[in-house]
């Protein structure tokens, strides 16, 4: 057969044409970031990286704008990499191929001192910096005064004790600066593990560098610059379209972190969110909040900005908006110097900046969007760090060796959204569920630990049209001849995750000790428990808030939750107004639609 050309239409240049090229190059860029990430995940030595997946890999433009990021923990990714590259630029005006910088200063862009970043400028043959690649990895130890990377009770950075690096050149000409290596090896508790993780992280940035150089050679650096510009414009347009779907409005909502050592009254957080739909802009003001506090909860600037932005990206309910410097143009975050959720002043400690207080910024932002724009936003995600996420330590009677490790035995917290029920294993807002939950068999094999029970707790979901996740119950203790310490820093024991648009609050997190006689003793929210054989610790994770009125929940969803044991028959009737017939024993439970309608109308 003879094919004939279909038409001779002249192609139009400009945006439309770049739509094709852009699609292809952005696939390449995401592949490169993913390649970096795979390298790090596969080669890291510490559990926090190769199991918990607590790291991120990103590509930035030569002027330090975030361009591409593989699927990484949101709290690591959005803002911070840009600030850190700016720090590199500031202290090292001349950048050469082969340079690599170690940076973990929370006062200059890093999230917290435990997150070591390696930053490599991608320099072309002519000596021009074309891109930056950055890999951030949470260290198993970072030289703190105590063997933990979460120094919640540290009154300042001196008590915290981490080695702080500010754009320190750890490689020139692709060769290690042994001075810095020796510093780390001398100070960091598990030097071999640190070294293995350093190599893994270095491998990631060098692979990213190699791939970008190849790409530049293949399609030309100017074309790549054009691409970056076009990609940012596209992302900005997607952001504008997403914001335009919301109504304009402004609201101030409040949240609070539970009392903590150093802050006996807790930390109130106030966020003001303003949506300007016509302009396609969202602004979050965090300035009306307390000064930095003498504890490790203060946010770094990177975490303060990112935490607010997580609430925004969660609240848009449009994952088609690429989270990069282009869509960031439509967001403003107002921060204040020396503010507990702002720009920290040295020497206040930011040791726990990525989790507890950061969530107290993200979750009210997503709730505020819901209050301004019903149908968007989210309820609050459950706060974290109950005992089931604690650090266990002691001596293993089976081997005589000491052990210390963080466990993930059951953390839930997913918030109700306008379109879905809370994602059960979200862990916390900044994590987005990307980390894993432990297997009981693996934990019992690795540690002298016995997990008596792990199950969801009925009626702990934040009720709503779309409900939050229920709390998870976990009860565990040491095996025979072992004394076990369990350290945890829970939030959400007093202030639960609130619902949005008339949705209910999620269950509170709780901690108890199960005594030998079977009785329960309540434990404080930030605590180091000591357990002997026959004693157990009981952990309740925080549930997620619900979205929308419970009375509008689809009765079939209520029936589903009832059949699955997530809610009781009483709750189905009293909270959701659903009348159920039949019996669980014969699996004949069903909704009585007429009675349900009558009951709901009387409420």
């Amino acid at each position: 057969m003879q094919s004939t050309p279909l038409d001779n239409q002249e192609s139009t240049p400009g945006m439309a044409r770049s739509g094709v090229r852009m699609a292809i190059i952005s696939n390449r860029m995401e592949s490169i970031a993913r390649k970096m990430q795979n390298t790090l995940f596969r080669t890291a030595r510490s559990g926090v990286l190769n199991t918990a997946h607590d790291f991120s890999c990103v590509i930035l433009t030569a002027d330090c704008q975030l361009l591409a990021s593989a699927e990484s923990l949101p709290i690591h990714t959005l803002i911070g990499p840009d600030l850190m590259c700016q720090a590199v630029r500031k202290y090292h005006p001349e950048l050469k191929a082969g340079d690599c910088f170690l940076h973990n200063s929370p006062y200059e862009g890093d999230s917290h001192a435990a997150d070591h970043c390696l930053i490599v400028p991608v320099v072309d043959d002519g000596g021009t910096v074309r891109f930056f690649v950055l890999a951030k990895a949470h260290q198993a130890d970072c030289g703190n005064s105590k063997p933990t990377t979460y120094m919640g009770h540290a009154s300042d950075v001196y008590e915290e004790g981490a080695l702080i690096f500010s754009a320190a050149k750890i490689q020139s000409d692709y060769t290690d600066n042994q001075d810095l290596i020796r510093m780390c090896r001398t100070r960091i508790r598990v030097p071999e593990q640190w070294w293995g993780d350093y190599l893994a992280t270095l491998g990631a940035v060098r692979i990213g560098e190699r791939e970008l150089l190849q790409l530049g050679e293949e399609i030309g650096w100017e074309a790549l610059d054009d691409y970056a510009g076009a990609w940012f414009d596209y992302s900005e347009q997607k952001m504008i379209q997403a914001i335009k779907r919301l109504p304009s409005g402004e609201i101030t909502v409040h949240s609070a972190h539970d009392p903590f050592p150093g802050v006996p009254e807790g930390i109130p957080v106030s966020v003001t969110v303003r949506i300007d739909a016509e302009e396609g802009r969202i602004r979050v003001d965090l300035r009306d909040n307390p000064d930095c506090q003498p504890c490790g909860l203060n946010l770094s600037e990177g975490c303060a900005r990112t935490a607010a932005m997580i609430g925004i990206y969660n609240g848009l309910i449009d994952h088609g908006v690429p989270p990069n410097a282009g869509s960031f143009r439509r967001i403003e975050i107002d921060l204040r110097e020396n503010c507990v959720v702002g720009i920290p002043r040295h020497p206040y400690s930011c040791s726990v900046a990525t989790t507890n207080l950061a969530d107290r910024v993200s979750t009210p932002v997503q709730r505020a969007i819901a209050e301004i724009a019903p149908g968007f936003g989210m309820a609050e995600t459950g706060p974290i760090m109950p005992p089931a996420m604690g650090v266990i330590s002691g001596r293993d009677p089976r081997t005589g060796e000491a052990f210390v490790n963080q466990i993930f035995l059951g953390i839930t917290g997913g918030a109700g959204t306008p379109v879905t029920d809370g994602f059960l294993t979200i862990i916390h807002a900044g994590n987005a569920g990307l980390c894993r939950q432990d297997s009981i068999e693996v934990d019992e094999l690795h540690h002298p630990l016995f997990v008596k029970e792990r199950r969801l707790i009925p009626d702990t979901e934040g009720h709503g049209t779309m409900r939050g996740s229920p709390s998870m119950y976990a009860e565990f203790g040491p095996i025979e001849d072992c004394t076990m310490h369990v350290l945890y820093t829970a939030d959400g024991t007093i202030h639960p995750a609130l619902g949005a648009c008339e949705g209910g609050a999620g269950g509170k997190s709780k901690a108890f000790k199960r005594e030998r006689d079977g009785s329960l003793t309540s434990l404080p929210n930030c605590h180091g428990a000591v357990l002997d054989h026959g004693e157990f610790i009981v952990s309740h994770s925080a549930g997620g808030g619900g979205y929308g009125p419970a009375m509008r929940r689809d009765p079939e969803r209520v029936l589903h939750d009832l059949r699955e044991g997530w809610i009781s028959p009483e709750r189905a009737k009293d909270i959701y107004g659903v009348v159920i017939t039949g019996s669980a024993e014969t699996d004949t439970l069903a909704v009585d639609p007429v009675a349900t309608q009558v009951l709901r109308e009387t409420r």
Binding site: N27, F408, S439, S469
Partner: protein, 686 residues
């Protein structure tokens, strides 16, 4: 004579191997009664040979079958009503899973439902500890009471997975006995027998999936073997397994989880053979292009890659089978992937697919969204009158019109430019998928050859291979039926595993050797039973191990079936360091290691070499003519069209050219060269 038949979503592929010759046949898949599609393909073959179906089948010794029956039943929720029995205190094993999520800002995807709902989950009062000791004895009265409840609930299958049954299976065994007595006729799967692997979620998941497939697969395989027999077949019916081997159909009916990945698992088996034959055993990237998915696997040093993290559906959103399977990565980019333009003006391909119904616009079956297949027609790559050897006529104008309104006009491009852009983007997605697995396994694509399987593979295999910088591209002569061809090359195989935790510092020699001896005995029994009469029997031992304090084990091949001396242990440790180095590019020679699960795999070889060759047809002319085809670099260009089957070996064809057979079309890009190998495959180099 041996027959291999692979039932896919759209087509049922048949390969007939008669001595040193093979012949290929394709029939439509008949989803309402897939056995009919199988019989139809056999009828086509019988007709080709000019034989009566009964006579034809009477000559066949072996019928090897791959099917998507099990996976489809799972995906469409048509499995048996299954109950899950778990240890008291742990009812949410299938709900909590192992955590993990993709797409951090995508909250439109709900949390996955458990494979078995909580209302069909029952807690058994009992508990075994990590060292195998019984902390709480089994409450048999409670089990009997549960059996009564299951009867009342009309449960059709039961999966039992108790904590630590892998170190002490007594409680599970006893529960199995009690169910057999008090719930007769209902199939039961016990986790320690099916999949003795650490981590309760994945073991439980495999267990309930297996149980849920038992009624259905028993019925299907029973119907298949009966109707084959009725049609005149008197040989042995075997099934392709997820592990890349074959097993007797009756054995698969007893453990149907073996069949869930049965189709894709064969592609690397075939790829390994073709890479060895036509590319000197280079590392091979095997890519199988289907209607909705693009399946990629890697073969290195002649070894088929394995994984124990197989997902049904998307990672973290579907169900993990936790069952050893050939490692095949699947992305949603097939011929049916739909092209569209998003609201920001960006061109997109997939993830939606037109599948086989309604299919691409050009099939004229009601499809309205332009697909990758439509684009290949527009670009002149596919001949609308010679699709599947002319058995199906395609509508090029309809495809062009759909592409114009849905994509080209929105981008301000001509129709052919839009089609070429869609091809480039689909190519890029495939390259991304391949990149990811090559990086994960430490392979440089520049040293590897890309093997294109599936009917649509040839359309952009050369483009993909070139973008990856591969050493070359190979389209095997049986590439369009790669899985069925692989089935003819497989061994009858089975594998066994047992957990025993020990460390390099305090290595439990006696216990380990006892475990290995028992695994070996089971392999020998298999070889003397289902494997009887094999040309060759091999038993491969391996152990899943890790450095102290690591979490994830890797599988390390063992050189012998016993660890007797310190030197043996030393060698095993060295093998672990080497494997770790090759996968992760680092090793830690000073570190202790932990050994967790011991495995033995028995393979009984049926045939020498790979498979026969396609005979050269005598009557077909070499060159079919010329036609206009489009590339972005050259625009419309005049290209030779050559008949694949008639190409002599060793005579190169320079691109741009199209090489066509009844089952596939290979686009030879400008600047590349194609040549037929001695074996019959098409090698393209650049």
């Amino acid at each position: 004579m041996r027959l291999a038949c692979d039932t896919g979503g759209t087509f049922t592929d048949l390969v007939v191997e008669d001595g040193d010759e093979i012949r290929l046949f394709k029939a439509s898949t008949t989803p309402d009664d897939p056995v009919r599609g199988v019989l139809n393909s056999l009828a086509l073959a019988a007709e080709h040979y000019g034989r009566d179906l009964g006579d034809f089948l009477g000559e066949a010794e072996m019928f090897i079958h791959g099917t998507t029956r099990a996976i489809n039943a799972i995906l469409t929720g048509n499995t048996a009503r299954t109950a899950f029995l778990t240890t008291e205190g742990h009812p949410d094993v299938l709900v909590i899973r192992e955590g993990g999520r993709i797409e951090p800002f995508n909250f439109t995807v709900p949390y996955p439902e458990p494979y078995v709902p909580r209302r069909l989950t029952f807690e058994i009062p009992e508990r075994i500890e990590a060292n195998g000791s019984i902390r709480k004895p089994l409450d048999e009265a409670a089990v009997i009471a549960i059996a009564e409840k299951l009867k009342l609930l009309k449960v059709e299958a039961v999966g039992v997975c108790l904590l630590w049954s892998i170190v002490n299976g007594e409680h599970e065994k006893r529960v199995g006995e009690l169910l057999a007595k008090h719930l007769p006729g209902v199939p039961v799967t016990l986790s320690h027998l099916l999949n003795p692997t650490l981590r309760e979620y994945r073991r439980a998941s495999a267990t309930v999936i297996d149980a849920s497939l038992k009624p259905l697969m028993f019925q299907y395989l029973d119907s298949l073997t009966r109707r084959l027999r009725e049609a005149g077949f008197a040989g042995r019916t075997l099934m392709v397994t997820s592990g890349g081997g074959i097993m007797d159909a009756e054995a698969v009916a007893r453990m149907p989880i073996h069949s869930i990945n049965s189709g894709p698992a064969m592609a690397p088996v075939a790829g390994r053979y073709y890479a060895a034959r036509d590319f000197d055993g280079a590392a091979a990237i095997v890519a199988d292009t289907g209607g909705t998915t693009y399946d990629v696997s890697l073969v290195r040093d002649g070894r088929i890659p394995w994984t124990r993290e197989t997902w049904i559906g998307q990672r973290f959103r579907g169900h993990m089978t936790g069952f050893p399977s050939v490692d095949v990565k699947s992305i949603g980019a097939g011929g049916g992937s739909i092209a569209w333009v998003d609201e920001g003006g960006l061109l997109r391909v997939g993830p939606r697919s037109a599948g086989s119904t309604p299919g691409p616009v050009s099939y004229g079956k009601g499809g309205t969204e332009p697909t990758v297949t439509d684009c290949s027609l527009i670009l002149g790559y596919i001949d609308p009158d010679f699709f599947l050897g002319g058995t199906m006529v395609l509508d090029r104008d309809a495809a062009a019109e759909a592409l114009r309104t849905k994509v080209a006009d929105k981008l301000g491009l001509s129709v052919e430019e839009a089609a070429a852009a869609i091809f480039a983007l689909a190519t890029e997605k495939m390259v991304g998928a391949i990149d990811e697995i090559t990086v994960n396994q430490g392979i440089d694509p520049a040293t590897a050859v890309l093997i294109g399987g599936g009917g649509a593979a040839g359309l952009n295999a050369v483009a993909v291979g070139r973008r990856l910088g591969c050493a070359g591209v190979l389209i095997p002569e049986a590439g369009s039926v790669l899985s069925a061809a692989g089935a003819l090359m497989s061994d009858i195989a089975s594998d066994y595993a047992q957990m025993l935790f020990t460390t390099s510092r305090r290595f439990a020699f006696d216990e380990v050797n006892a475990v290995l001896a028992s695994l070996e005995a089971r392999c020998r029994a298999f070889a003397e039973g289902p494997g009887a009469g094999a040309l060759n029997v091999t038993i491969d031992f391996s152990v899943e191990a890790r450095y102290a304090h690591q979490i994830w084990e890797i599988e390390v091949p063992m050189t012998s079936g016993r660890i007797e001396t310190d030197a043996d242990l030393e060698a095993l440790q060295q093998a672990f360091h080497d494997t770790h180095q090759s996968i992760f590019e680092i090793s830690d020679p000073g570190s202790d290691m932990e050994f967790v699960t011991w495995r033995a795999k028995v393979s009984c070889q049926l045939r020498e070499g790979g498979t026969g060759q396609l005979p050269m047809p005598k009557s077909v002319s070499h060159e079919l003519g010329r036609r206009q085809i489009y590339f972005s670099e050259t625009g419309w260009t005049d290209a030779e069209v050559i008949r694949f089957e008639s190409m002599p070996s060793g005579v190169p064809v320079a691109g741009p050219a199209i090489i066509e057979s009844s089952f596939t079309t290979v686009v030879v890009d400008p600047g590349t060269n194609a040549v037929r190998s001695e074996g019959g495959g098409l090698r393209v180099t650049f």
